[in-house]
């Protein structure tokens, strides 16, 4: 068996895996099947700076092009993994090529969930790739009315970017407050108020019941009977692992289950990032690294609490830990000034921290959660 390591996917987890292999002195062949036509790039700016300006595309690459030649990492652009044979150790690509591997990393990421009601309309967007961001930016450049379905972080970041660009923006979410399932209704309401104070309309407790228009959707009818005229729609209702290509391989084509070191149970097959259902930038990076180390038989240090960040109207928000398991929350600071922290506790012990405009408190927050 030979031909080194195949990395199916070209996102952050894939990149961190390749880097970790080379850093550790791995000399085998490394091929990365990127799916998109771009070398690995940073996705978080897609819902932030890239929506505002074309110039922000220039620094998106996770590494300069020379890195891949310098480190003998072969990029297979514009084709994706289409089938896996765990017995023969072969990945077949959409373009028909068959890649033998000694070790495989499944890092094909996730795809945005769609709403059946809105499928087929030309002005309905999702946001996952650079092409998605370009299409949304082009649409918003013409102004008009944007309806964002889903008040998760993607939806909220797009709302902030669109409002800043002068687009008439409305967020619709099924819950009674944005992020209520994660942060609880009180903190969620702060996010709703934040958007409202910036001129964004936030409609809660409602879903899309009907969409009308020819070619483009021109009007949404909500479950509460309200009607919204729109020129653009963004659907931001979460993601699903992009692993349907594993059908027939013996691995679950809905979500790849892995052990702590990223191993799938199939010989030589590891997985990392959104493909495993974790869904956050930090964890994708960490899992890519951990899987690479496991491929080499090296352990990794224990990971820190889950964390992510968001930028909304020039305010940075950090979240660490596991708030849904909390039974109480304490707010410190001044929410009206976008300068506060929320400490979530369970039976008195800190389990999560939300920082708004307080990046400087991150080390303290981490220490609090690690204690």
């Amino acid at each position: 068996m030979s031909d080194g390591t195949v990395i199916a996917g070209g996102g952050l987890a894939a990149q961190r895996c390749a880097e970790t292999l080379r850093r550790a002195g791995y000399e085998g062949r490394v091929r990365m099947v990127c799916g998109e036509t771009h070398a690995p790039y940073d996705r978080p700016p897609l819902s932030k700076a890239v929506l505002a300006t074309t110039g922000a595309e220039d620094d998106l690459g996770l590494r300069p092009a020379s890195w891949y030649t310098d480190h003998a990492v072969e990029l297979l652009l514009g084709t994706r993994a289409a089938a896996l044979d765990c017995t023969r150790h072969v990945v077949t690509l959409a373009d028909g090529r068959a890649l033998g591997y000694e070790q495989l990393l499944i890092a094909t990421g996730s795809r945005p969930r769609r709403l059946g009601l809105l499928d087929g309309f030309a002005n309905v967007h999702t946001l996952r790739t650079l092409e998605d961001a370009r299409a949304l930016r082009a649409a918003l450049a013409g102004g008009g009315r944007l309806v964002i379905v889903g008040a998760g972080f993607i939806g909220q970041e797009v709302a902030a970017a669109a409002a800043k660009a002068g687009v008439d923006t409305t967020i619709v979410d099924a819950a009674d407050a944005p992020l209520a399932a994660l942060l609880g209704p009180a903190v969620g309401t702060w996010f709703a108020d934040l958007h409202r104070s910036e001129g964004v309309d936030v409609i809660l407790g409602a879903t899309v019941a009907a969409a009308t228009g020819a070619g483009c959707v021109g009007r949404l009818t909500l479950s509460d009977g309200r009607r919204l005229a729109c020129d653009h729609v963004l659907v931001g209702v979460g993601v699903d692992p992009d692993v349907a290509w594993l059908a027939g391989s013996g691995l679950d084509p809905a979500v790849v289950r892995v052990g702590a070191e990223g191993h799938t149970g199939a010989p030589g097959v590891f997985a990392a990032g959104d493909a495993t259902g974790t869904g956050h930038w930090e964890s994708a990076a960490r899992q890519g690294m951990v899987a690479a180390r496991a491929m080499l038989g090296v352990g990794s240090s224990r990971p820190a609490a889950a964390s992510f960040w968001s930028d909304l109207y020039d305010t940075r928000v950090h979240y660490l830990g596991d708030a849904p398991c909390a039974d109480a929350a304490t707010i410190d600071g001044d929410p009206a000034q976008r300068d506060f922290s929320v400490t979530f506790t369970r039976a008195g012990a800190p389990v999560a921290v939300l920082l708004v405009g307080r990046s400087h408190d991150l080390p303290n927050a981490r220490a609090l959660l690690a204690a």
């Binding site: 961190r16 850093r23 930090e282 690294m289 240090s301 820190a304 964390s307 400087h360 080390p363």
Partner: protein, 67 residues
Amino acid sequence: MTLIATIDAGACAAHGDCEAIAPEIFAIDDVAVVVGTGPDELMLAAAQACPSVAIVVTDADGRRVYP
């Protein structure tokens, strides 16, 4: 060279941006480690570039400069 960098190993996800900016100060192993010294501005730039905010910079008196 009055500033001191420490790395929160639990927070570091080995992105490698610090090493790219200031290789004389930072290197990546399992996580980033401080391997030397360098100009304060470079150290701060590397800390500010860390996507995980895992680099804490203090001055000689132990006061936190970043983040």
